[in-house]
Amino acid sequence: MVTEMLALTVLLYFLLFIFDIKPLYKKKLWADFWVNVTLTGISFTVAVLLCLKVKIPSPELPICELITSIFGK
């Protein structure tokens, strides 16, 4: 199951690379290209981690703790 999910993710990101990132490279929109590549890198990493069933810490818990410590429950 994990392998199939990983394969699907890689395939989807490959398609994204062809249809979303490559045109920016061809048009020489460098700022857009690099931002897109960075965001793709982050999202690809998170997607792969999710496929491998790694528990990614949510930012919601620390915010929740901070607010309840200030205002009470």
């Binding site: 929109l29 700022a31 857009d32 998170v46 949510s58 309840t68």
Partner: protein, 373 residues
């Protein structure tokens, strides 16, 4: 490239769908029990001053969006910092709304399907809408909203036999404090969330109309939310707070002659449409924020990645539905306060001072020119 423009009617429809979107199904906070309808009115009353501030800021800088205004008002560096804050807020809000939808699908509509599937399906539609722009989204909403109103009206009428108006009594039986607390929660979610619209209302065709748009949109949405809450209380009574999705439960009890039953799908339809509009707007604003922050050519070139990140973030943000409710009603109002109230007030005050100075300068220059003549 031609600048996108929306007329007031489209903007009002967008605002209504944005506000009623997730609130109609998640409901207002349930701690005020049978006074929940009063808390939605209280929330609206609390929201009026901030709405005035949002519309005033937009009127002072016509044809400019939130991020342009930030740079103009508080300078380049501070402006960039606040842009980051608003971009993250829009991104987070979009993820929260997507997650609401995912939880709804997971607990009622498709319990055996993994949550990522509805999230991806909805996320893809939102990415397409955000990529097409606010003009297309505005027109789509204008076409769909009458249908949504019709559905809401028919469901209200069909619910009439199930209503127990005595459930609404005693009014203010638990005192005013729970109503005010829930009112504040209703203020933050959904009324003051309209701060996100400052990022797209640069597209308004008439530069002087933000006040009218904000007010009409929010008044209509508040009326719909209040009427729906009254119906939910009159059907469910004091149990309102014990359901995750009260509207869905209330409508599922409709049964007319054992023929018209199971019409809760109508609630899902309204919810899906609301989530679509809300997430698309948030996505667009997050994209515009990054565009202005990093001087990109267009937010469209990165919108797919923002959407994908939003979907993934929605997947990891909560562990379960109880956490979602705790966050939405207890934590979110405090978390969102700086973005919804403090920053807009600061921006408004500085903008007013700057505007006055500029006006004074111009009037002095005119005076000098007249004296010379």
């Amino acid at each position: 490239m031609r600048k996108e423009q929306i007329i007031d009617k489209e903007a009002i429809c967008l605002l209504i769908s944005f506000i009623i979107g997730s609130t109609l199904i998640v409901g207002v906070s349930g701690s005020s029990k049978n006074d929940a309808w009063l808390s939605s009115i209280t929330g609206f009353v609390m929201a009026v001053p901030v709405l005035l501030i949002y519309s005033r800021i937009l009127t002072l800088y016509p044809q400019k969006d939130l991020f342009d205004i930030l740079t103009l008002v508080i300078g380049k560096i501070a402006g960039k910092f606040v842009t980051v804050v608003y971009t993250l807020y829009a991104f987070h809000l979009g993820s929260l709304v997507l997650r609401n939808f995912g939880e709804f699908m997971n607990s009622f509509a498709m319990p055996e399907t993994p949550m990522i599937i509805p999230l991806v399906a909805m996320g893809m539609v939102c990415i397409i809408a955000a990529r097409l722009g606010v003009e297309v989204l505005g027109r789509t909403t204008t076409y769909f909203l009458p249908g949504i109103f019709l559905i809401l009206l028919i469901v209200q009428l069909l619910a009439l036999p199930q209503l127990h108006i005595n459930y609404l009594k005693p009014v203010l039986g638990n005192g005013i404090t729970p109503v005010l607390k829930d009112g504040y929660s209703a203020f933050a979610f959904p009324f003051a969330e309209t701060v996100v619209f400052m990022g797209v209302f640069d597209a308004l065709k008439t530069p002087k109309s933000p006040k009218k748009v904000y007010f009409l949109g929010v008044v209509i949405a508040a009326a719909i939310i209040t009427i729906t809450t009254v119906r939910n209380i009159a059907v469910l009574g004091n149990m309102l707070g014990s359901f995750y999705f009260p509207s869905y439960e209330a409508v599922s009890r409709i049964s007319i002659g054992n023929v018209i039953e199971r019409i809760e799908i109508t609630v899902s339809f309204v919810f899906v449409f609301g989530v679509f509009v809300k997430t698309s707007v948030c996505m667009m604003v997050a994209g515009k924020g990054i565009e202005k922050l990093l001087n990109l050519k267009s937010y469209r070139s990165i919108i797919i990645q923002i959407g994908v990140l939003m979907i993934l973030f929605a997947q990891i943000i909560y562990d379960n539905i109880m956490q979602m409710r705790l966050w939405a009603f207890k934590v979110y109002p405090y978390y969102a306060f700086p973005m919804q109230v403090i920053l807009p007030v600061i921006i408004w005050i500085i903008a007013e001072i700057k505007n006055r100075k500029i006006r004074k300068m111009y009037s002095n220059a005119d005076q000098k020119a007249e004296d010379q003549q």
